[in-house]
Symmetry: C2
Subunit: 287 residues, 2 copies
Amino acid sequence: MVDRAKMVNKALDEAVPQKYPDTLYESMRYSLLAGGKRVRPALCLAACELVGGDVTAALPAACAMEMVHTMSLIHDDLPSMDNDDFRRGRPTNHKVYGEDIAILSGDALLTFAFEHIARATKGVSADRVLRVIIELGRASGAEGLVAGQVVDIQSENKSVGLDVLKYIHIHKTAALLEASVVCGAIAGGADEATIEKLRKYSRNIGLAFQVIDDILDVTQTTEQLGKTAAKDLAVNKTTYPKLLGLEKSKEVADQLILEAIQQLDGFDAAKAAPLVALAKYIGYRQN
Amino acid sequence: MVDRAKMVNKALDEAVPQKYPDTLYESMRYSLLAGGKRVRPALCLAACELVGGDVTAALPAACAMEMVHTMSLIHDDLPSMDNDDFRRGRPTNHKVYGEDIAILSGDALLTFAFEHIARATKGVSADRVLRVIIELGRASGAEGLVAGQVVDIQSENKSVGLDVLKYIHIHKTAALLEASVVCGAIAGGADEATIEKLRKYSRNIGLAFQVIDDILDVTQTTEQLGKTAAKDLAVNKTTYPKLLGLEKSKEVADQLILEAIQQLDGFDAAKAAPLVALAKYIGYRQN
């Protein structure tokens, strides 16, 4: 995973070089190259290789996942949204560049995600590249990430049930993790049955990812997380630990990870190892 | 042009139907269906037909242009940007739905523009659809619209020269008008030489569009414009009238329109008539 993160960081650095207007590109690069864990790109590349594709076929899509993810963090952190001052251990984008530039650099990263897939993907049929774009669009917009964020905002300071909480998690977090895996598989040349198997895997780890996030918000410090801890409690947000308690939440996450790994049963064990490892990483991560 | 606007309005209404989460889709539809003049879609469809394509081939791209344009208006109007209260004769998006929803519905429209082209374009080769996506991406992001907006913001309350003003206009306004024409031509099956001829046409009308915008800001009332008039003066913005005077600015716009129309010389006059009419409309519009 460390090697993969390096590969992705290099590709992101080259995809978004410093240019005029300076402030815009600095702001984009500030958040994009802030050294996240690159979980989404890692999933994308691993899915591509699992289905027999060359890793380079999925590299532009992998970078695009990180661009969209970064955009969502920049916009979510804005004062009119979650109003966060720290992210990945550093001041948030708008704290450094101002709200206007933060909004615009998010817009630019979102735009470039689609352009980059269309422009930089090589060795994949144009039909498949279009499918990748459709998957990413669905995961990022009003049927995915944005929808999740809207319902999340509207649920603050309200007590919501498990159905709404699940809706938020599936849309706000799981959708892009799902797209990462599915787009990697499409770029790698997977058939429909394989794509759907991997879709199930990714939905499970996506939901687990956010359950763990809820847990870590309670159990970890701001330093450990690199972002403000106990934030959910502070804004009285409904979370898995709040609804189910810590122990039961951990059980839910474990079960989701277990079922995700079961989806990989039909694959060659050696080839599936990276996706198994990523599922476990997501299930047992500490930040 | 009225018929075309109707066709586009219907297509936009169907492309973004009202769904859950209600507020998000209401906010998207509030601005998207606010009855703009649909200049970009009209250009896109006319370019497609001029090169011999069926109008339906360019309809998804035409709608996408309007989605990106609408997103840029929603985000530009935000308090941290131009802080505008009125647009198209109605309160701006954030005035009705709040800043958070306005940012998110802009994000959703931007995302959906790309998804819609990839998903809904029929009868066009996948390679050409990817080219359309690349053109739209370049026009909308850090090399286009967003770059123009950043330099525009940074130039407020500063006196800038004609070179910077031209940079702003070309990126903030002309880029998307150019993409509208070029994407229509690509979807319509145009060869490279034709695409480049139409690119020159569109660059000229794009620049003229913004020169006229600068002029109208001085000469028209808020009621006539449907948005705040004399805004440029209020924020001490450098404009064509400020740099060159009103008369000379009108001459510049006239010359740009003339040269745009000259690019259409080689085409069948009857077929080129809509693009000639659109150039004249842009050159002589009153709001």
